[in-house]
């Protein structure tokens, strides 16, 4: 089973062939569109991520000892970005998630989305996803 870092490295490699922003965003848009739509019943105040200009939801559940994430957004680029986080972290243990170092964000040039004032709230997404990790750890 691929580790969190394996998946990050894979994404970094995918992005490395893109020369300009158009390719990168086309990837994010296509990726965002390819992701399934989160069922309305999971779009609640608890799963909603605040601090984003678009609406973003992140739902998590425990399957055996792993946490599985499902995300959605009404903006497609945002969905692509949160989708990458899900791709990297879903299917790992709460400990792995809570302790992960998400270096791929910087490497694929999404760091500009990390500034806390940035309207897409990547920071809030990471915080939320890690909070799930910590919360599921506590339940153990």
């Amino acid at each position: 089973m691929a580790t969190i870092n394996d998946i990050q490295d894979e994404i970094i490699e995918d992005f490395s062939i893109y020369e300009d922003w158009t390719d990168k965003y086309e990837y994010l848009i296509d990726f965002g569109k390819s992701l399934s739509i989160l069922d309305e019943k999971y779009k609640t105040e608890e799963t909603r991520i605040n601090g984003c200009q678009s609406k973003v939801w992140l739902y998590a559940e425990k399957q055996a000892d792993k946490v599985v994430f499902f995300a959605d957004s009404d903006a497609i680029i945002t969905k692509g970005i949160v989708g990458l986080l899900v791709k990297v972290l879903s299917g790992h243990t709460p400990e792995e998630i809570a302790e992960s170092d998400l270096y791929f964000i910087d490497k694929i040039g999404l760091k500009e989305h990390l500034s806390p004032t940035r309207a897409n709230g990547l920071v809030s997404m990471i915080k939320k996803i890690k909070t799930y990790g910590v919360a599921f750890q506590a339940i153990n």
Partner: protein
Amino acid sequence: MLDIQKIRADFPILSEKIRGKQLVYLDNGASTQKPKVLIEAEQYFYEHQYANIHRGVHYLSQIGTDLYEASRKTVQQFINAKHDHEIIFTKGTTNSINLVAYTFGRKFIQARDEIVVTEMEHHSNIVPWQILCEEKGCILKVIPLQKDGTILLEDAARLITSKTKLVSVVYVSNALGTINPIQELIALAHSKGAKIMIDAAQAIQHIPIDVQALDCDLLAFSAHKLYGPTGVGILYGKEDILNAMPPFEGGGDMIENVSFAKTTFNALPFKFEAGTPHISGCISMSVAIKYIQDLGLQKIMEYEHSLLEYATERLNAINGLTIYGTAKDKSSVISFLLEGIHPYDVGVLLDNQGIAIRTGHHCAQPVMEYFNIPGTCRASFALYNTKEEVDVLVEGILRAKKMLS
């Protein structure tokens, strides 16, 4: 005719490259860029003239005080106020409105009295009144929006009554560009014995304003949307109203005499200017105003209007694009959405092409709620924008649309 190329050369930032592309700055509603004369004036002040004002007998303090007071006179003359002490330096529009809510509001508005705003207000002209209403038990009445982004004078006439103590309305909507019929609203308010405040944050840089001709009681704006510095704004008020209002903040400069037995307050305008102000900004604001006056605000208005018309025509020709705010009287703001596409996605893709617009609710969530939309993309123009930039915007939108559909 304005020489736009010459004007553009006065704004150093306009020649910046963003992500390798020529910057196209269309977020002037949020804030305008600064002319070189203003940047140089601030630098000169700090290098040669800086000291605290109103406090020292020494040479520099005197110079600073003179410049500060001269700037007040420039603002007075710019909006044609009757007296220079009717011009209060504040931190900005938000601060000016809060000042009125805390002073005029606390003193003159009681339980069950009414305050009237419109549905298109910026949050800065909603929240201070909600806080006041919460505290005092007064009531906030809202003149409703129409589909084209205007309000109806019939509605205003119905809502402004003898119970109304204050009407506080936006002159130009930052989210829709609508120019409100403030002359009529002022007359309506006065006919019912109410006072009226104008939020001129989006008007002062586009429309010549004469507060005596308008006969408004209070008026607020920010320097940073007027090609001036951040952190400075103006509250204009008629002398008798400002005199009747209690002080806002207590502190230095706003007092006449302080003792533990009794403190007396300074006269206007100092009564409302407690503490050391943003001295360099208050001074350089007048440089920005003079810059605009030299060009002529009337000419600026006409030029910006031609830009708006051109941009409206070009954007309307884009399939699936809807413009929000289609009033006959509009200022240089175009709010739009592409069908089935979130405004944020458009904003990101335009940003990558060097085009700066704003996306979101523009601090006017009730407007978004009215149209039942998550927000809009907003292009807002200033005197240095060009038709070529509108063309770049249109190309950029088409490209974003292609990528997103």
